[in-house]
């Protein structure tokens, strides 16, 4: 089974702190994604990566950066945390396929609930 792990289930940080959220997958997937989830807004894509050292902005990249130095690890960085970044953060991975089959699905980690005070 594919396993996607996130470094913390719950995290509390103070405004202005630099925050690192780590995501690791064990299935050699090329594509990895970071979403945030807020009530009533569904999942919004922050950044994604389709290869080591490659990244693409999603719909809400402002205030965030990412790092993908190794294939299995995708880090989300909040350079200076703010209260409006309090949210649930979800990481996902997916192999490169494009055939429309089961490999086109995303595998999600359990999520990190971040609170910024």
């Amino acid at each position: 089974d594919v396993k996607v792990t996130q470094s913390s289930r719950y995290l509390v940080k103070r405004t202005g702190e630099k925050v690192f959220l780590e995501c690791v997958q064990d299935m050699d997937h090329e594509n990895m994604f970071w979403y945030r989830q807020d009530p009533g807004l569904g999942l919004r894509l922050i950044y994604f990566s389709y290869d080591v050292k490659m990244k693409e902005k999603g719909d809400i990249p402002e205030g965030y950066s990412v790092s993908r130095e190794k294939k299995e690890r995708f880090s989300l960085i909040l350079e200076s945390a703010s209260t409006n970044q309090t949210s649930m953060y979800l990481c996902a991975s997916r192999p490169t396929s494009g055939s429309g089959g089961a490999t086109d699905t995303q595998y999600f980690g359990p999520g990190t609930r971040l609170t910024v005070l």
């Binding site: 996607v4 994604f48 693409e56 086109d104 999600f108």
Partner: protein, 112 residues
């Protein structure tokens, strides 16, 4: 930007009843996927339907896709209390490096 919109936002039914959730999307797609999320957890993939398919089944799940109306529906038959969760549709367009466009979800509550 959100690609899909689920309808209804919330659905409450009794065990044994069927639950139908709808999803609309805005542009042409490669496939449409449905995911489930238990409270406070990550999402789990349920079923994928390709743009050239019209209907797909998996156990108690039935998904339909109408590309002319840009809509999909998820039917859960003979629902159980354990089906209580949020359900999201997500569409994949062409040449988007695997990114999905999620809707806002339907919160399904199944009462015993």
């Amino acid at each position: 930007s959100q690609q899909g919109e689920e309808d209804p936002q919330a659905l409450s039914i009794q065990e044994g009843e069927n639950a139908t959730m709808n999803c609309s999307y805005k542009t042409s797609i490669n496939n449409l996927q449905w995911y489930r999320q238990n409270s406070g957890r990550g999402l789990v993939h349920l079923i994928l339907i390709r743009s050239n398919e019209r209907e797909k089944h998996s156990g108690r799940l039935r998904v339909t896709l109408d590309t002319s109306k840009k809509s999909s529906s998820l039917l859960i038959t003979a629902s159980r209390a354990a089906d209580t969760a949020s359900y999201f549709c997500a569409s994949e367009r062409g040449s988007t490096l695997g990114r999905l466009y999620f809707g806002r979800g339907t919160q399904l509550t199944v009462w015993p």
